[in-house]
């Protein structure tokens, strides 16, 4: 619970921070908090991924982008309250919607009734792999993972096409201040 509150506090700091460098560092802290929280929620595989991806690779890529662009955010010219209002209304509606969800941590909610018990019971018999997450990822839901791998492949190709094409640096303006 304390972790969740801390997470919310870091998010507020990210919203308010104007220096983009600070935002990136806060985003790294946010990812580590999220990874700790995921361990508390028993999702060890996910926590490992979040710690290495969210706090590692994302931070490096964001810093590389900041190096290529500007590091401070312009303050808005006219302060507009409409987005805040919309967000508050949507948030209130969604929170009202979650009140009918089952309480946190009960074992007999609907989520635990369907495929998961079968995976837990049969994984070791059918695949010989004790880590159910791995066996579901690579065996039972292999199509999914093939799709995800293809998405990563496509995104990688896209970035390479965008960044390794021709350079048009001296068209308008320059490449930022740094």
């Amino acid at each position: 619970m304390a972790l969740l509150t801390l997470l919310a506090a870091v998010t507020v700091a990210i919203v308010r921070q104007r220096s983009l460098f600070g935002v990136v560092v806060l985003a790294g802290i946010y990812s580590f908090l999220m990874a700790t929280l995921l361990i508390a929620l028993d999702a060890v595989d996910v926590a490992m991924t979040e710690a290495s991806v969210g706090a590692g690779i994302s931070t490096v890529l964001l810093l590389a982008t900041l190096h290529l662009t500007k590091t401070t955010e312009m303050s808005p010219i006219n302060r507009n309250w409409l987005p805040l209002l919309v967000v508050l209304i949507v948030g209130a509606a969604v929170v009202w919607g979650t009140l009918s969800l089952p309480p946190f941590g009960v074992a007999d909610s609907v989520v635990h009734q369907h495929v998961a018990p079968r995976y837990l019971a049969q994984s070791i018999v059918e695949t010989g792999v004790p880590n159910v997450v791995t066996s579901v990822l690579a065996d039972y839901r292999s199509y999914d993972t093939l799709g995800e791998t293809t998405v990563i492949f496509t995104a990688g190709i896209g970035v390479l096409l965008l960044l390794r094409g021709l350079r048009r640096r001296d068209d308008i303006g320059g490449g930022g201040e740094s």
């Binding site: 995921l38 999702a43 994302s58």
Partner: protein
């Protein structure tokens, strides 16, 4: 009293929604594109939490089978989110690449300035 109990039982969801809305607010209200992408990834992270939270069973353990345990948390959301995280960073990189190219073309990454330059032409 009942209200407090309900709130405590759904505290995870409340914070999840708060993170989601904070991400949405950054995307809508901030003009800087790097900040928009960070807002988008905060939104995405809140979805991870939304998936993982219902899978937790109090008293359960991580879904790695061992004779010493009988109650495990639900592995299915873990699988779905595990792949979503890596895809998330791949798409974040694609967005950042677009930001870099936009910066090379316009010399700025602020939405307002880009619109102003478009109007000039």
């Amino acid at each position: 009293m009942q209200l407090v109990k309900t709130f405590a039982e759904h505290y995870n969801y409340v914070i999840t929604i708060f993170l989601m809305m904070a991400g949405l607010y950054i995307v809508v209200a901030r003009g800087n594109m790097v900040k928009k992408l960070i807002g988008l990834s905060i939104f995405q992270t809140s979805v991870y939490l939304l998936y993982i939270t219902p899978g937790k069973i109090i008293g359960g353990t991580a879904p790695i089978l061992d004779p010493a345990f009988t109650v495990y948390s639900n592995p299915l959301p873990h699988v779905l989110i595990l792949t979503a995280i890596v895809v998330g960073v791949a798409t974040l990189a694609l967005g950042l690449a677009l930001v870099v190219r936009i910066n090379e073309c316009y010399g700025t990454i602020e939405e307002d300035e880009i619109f102003a330059k478009d109007d000039d032409q």
